[in-house]
Amino acid sequence: MLVIKNLHANIDGKEILKGLSLTINKGEIHAIMGPNGSGKSTLSSVITGHPAFEVTHGTIEFNGTDLLELAPEERANEGIFLSFQYPVEIPGVSMVNFMRSAINEQRKYRNEPAISATDFLRLMREKKELVEMDSKLTNRAVNEGFSGGEKKKNEIFQMAMLEPKLAILDETDSGLDIDALRIVANGVNKLKSPENATVVITHYQRLLDYITPDFVHVLYDGKIVKSGGKELALELEARGYDWIKQEVEA
């Protein structure tokens, strides 16, 4: 589904990704771990097409199309979704307007007619229940004044609305209490199918207790330096990153 080869990317002339390769097939769950500043969020930004990052080398293919040729909105409509590490507040733009625009753009992209008002409301209700999201939140402006945990839940709500093929969750577990963590993980698991794939970026094993990864990767200094099964996450939790750094530098 997603094939990244030898990816190099800069921001402000500074190289952050330094030859990263990764292949994700449909039906798989990948966890990406790694120390602060290693480039995990940069990888998500580059996949989703953030204009601040410049790709200097390498390729990203998504279901056979050259992703780097597409605008961020086209990538989204091809089925890529990012749950932001730091979701953005958009004062004045209501959640309802925002979601309706997003849904209708997706439908337009697929040559489908705009969603009817009743279908839209039904969809909103269904997905709110899935992530146990309070209607108080969906009646407000996008993320405005939401708590850290509410913002994360809202990301998963949007993911449920848009049903992406590839979802990247960038530290969606950070700042969540135990209940919220369970709800978010349940949401992700319910949306899981053999047709889609999930990338979970996290620092903690605790999320992986709920969402079982097929693969665990360590991103360090702009590259994937180690990959393994779910037991790698347990090992990282127990031993930290120093041994990996030593392996890399050796």
Partner: protein
């Protein structure tokens, strides 16, 4: 520039007076003397330093001292942008009040008078004389003085004590001429004690010539009265629109003024609200959407002359291309105006690096027990918000539009006529999409 008009006045003084509302003649020579002394405002004058009016004033405009009718029936010919608002509807063509009014205007409550200044000063000379010039007559302002010398007529509205208008009044100013043309008008609006009225003024241009309108509107709002003044400009870019709106508020009155520039050429709005009694409330708002080489200058003054009044001011601008915006927020609090609460906000978005905005809060506070705040920002659309929306599949242009509409939304909250608020939301969105000048039929743009 001035000399031409000074000579014109001297040559046609008799004719101007002969065709003018009598009450307006009483102070005409005095206004002329002031104009002769002051001249037109230039950028050297502090209050006009942001907007160069010279190119607009240099044009050789025709004037209509003889008050000849222009061949147009606005009720037939004109489709305003704000139809479907259930209102009492009136037209002013250039500076003449259009006499054929709507049958429904007969439903005005008893005692309410809406007519031309000329008619009002013939039928109710004392009423008109009590108010005319009481605010404008003292202004040391070249444009107001010019208006006092040359304006012959205007719109008159009187709502007596305790009367509430069942519908808003809509006044449509249409500029209509085959040659470059100048209109001067003086409007007088009197809302007596405990009365309630809403006025929507729409400015339009009909023909593809250069126009200049120099309008002075004096509003008197009595004790416990409520008044809304909405002004919507949707003119073409060969229009110079100079407006002076002077509002006198008496104790416990409540006023909203909301001045919206959707499409224009060169616009200068001077808005002054004087709180002349205790417990007044006033909301002074406005928005500007400008592009190409449009210019909009809003110069506002809120004068807290009495204690315990509350003013809120909010102006927002979205400027694209090489357009220019200016905002001055003068806030004056008299020594004895204790317990004043006054808040002012001006926010601006520049969509293009060549667009220019100048903003200036001007606080003159002489009382000590006051709560005042002011804030001004000039920025771009939030890139992070744009990317966030795009990452959800919303295309760049749509995302920008959502942000701009959101940016303007709170100014539209200051419209207390719900049908008008909805209509304005739509017009703002159309304007931001760049569709307004193409579809509305009344805007002729180069």
């Amino acid at each position: 520039m001035e000399q031409q008009y000074i000579d014109l006045y001297k040559a046609h003084r008799g004719m101007i007076k002969e065709h003018a509302a009598a009450v307006m003649n009483a102070s005409r020579d005095e206004a002329f003397a002031r104009f002769a002394r002051l001249g037109f405002p230039t950028t050297k004058i502090e209050n006009y330093k942001y907007t160069e009016l010279k190119p607009s004033l240099e044009v050789d405009y025709g004037l209509n001292f003889r008050r000849l009718d222009f061949p147009v029936d606005p009720y037939q010919a004109f489709q305003c942008d704000v139809p479907g608002i259930d209102s009492f509807l009136y037209f002013v063509v250039n500076d003449g009040f259009y006499p054929e009014t709507d049958d429904r205007n007969k439903e005005l409550p008893e005692g309410v008078i809406i007519c031309s200044m000329k008619e009002a000063s013939e039928k109710y000379p004392e009423l008109v004389a009590t108010y005319y010039g009481k605010q404008s007559g003292k202004k040391d302002d070249g444009l107001v003085a010019f208006n006092g010398a040359f304006a012959q007529d205007g719109f008159f509205m009187y709502v007596p004590k305790n009367v509430e208008l069942p519908r808003p009044v809509q006044l449509i100013n249409i500029m209509r001429s085959d040659v470059d043309f100048m209109a001067n008008s003086h409007d007088l609006i009197i809302i007596e004690e405990n009365a309630k009225a809403q006025l929507l003024v729409c400015d339009h241009t009909q023909d593809d010539v250069r126009f200049l309108a120099n309008r002075v509107t004096e509003v008197f709002v009595g004790e416990y009265a409520t008044y809304d003044h909405y002004k919507l400009e949707n003119t073409h870019n060969r229009m110079t629109n100079l407006m002076t709106l002077l509002i006198d508020q008496q104790a416990s009155s409540n006023v909203i003024s909301n001045v919206i520039t959707l499409h224009n050429g060169v616009t200068r709005n001077t808005i002054e609200v004087a709180l002349n009694g205790k417990h007044c409330e006033t909301e002074v708002c406005g928005m500007v959407i400008a592009d190409k080489n449009q210019t909009v200058d809003n110069f506002t003054s809120v004068l807290h002359n009495m204690p315990e009044c509350h003013s809120d001011e909010l102006f927002k601008y979205v400027l694209d291309d090489v357009s220019k915006g200016a905002f001055t927020g003068r806030l004056f609090v008299e020594k004895d105006a204790q317990k004043t609460r006054a808040y002012q906000t001006n926010r601006n978005i520049l969509l293009h690096p060549s667009a220019k905005m100048r903003t200036k809060p001007q606080l003159e506070i002489f009382a000590d027990d006051v709560k005042c705040s002011h804030g001004a920002t000039i920025g771009q659309l939030d890139d992070n918000a744009l990317f966030y929306m795009r990452s959800r599949g919303i295309p760049y242009n749509e995302a920008r539009l959502l942000l701009m509409n959101a940016f303007m939304a709170d100014v539209l909250e200051y419209i207390r006529i719900f049908a008008l608020r909805d209509r304005m939301k739509m017009l703002v969105e159309k304007r931001l999409r760049g569709e307004l000048s193409k579809c509305e039929g009344c805007v002729i743009c180069q």
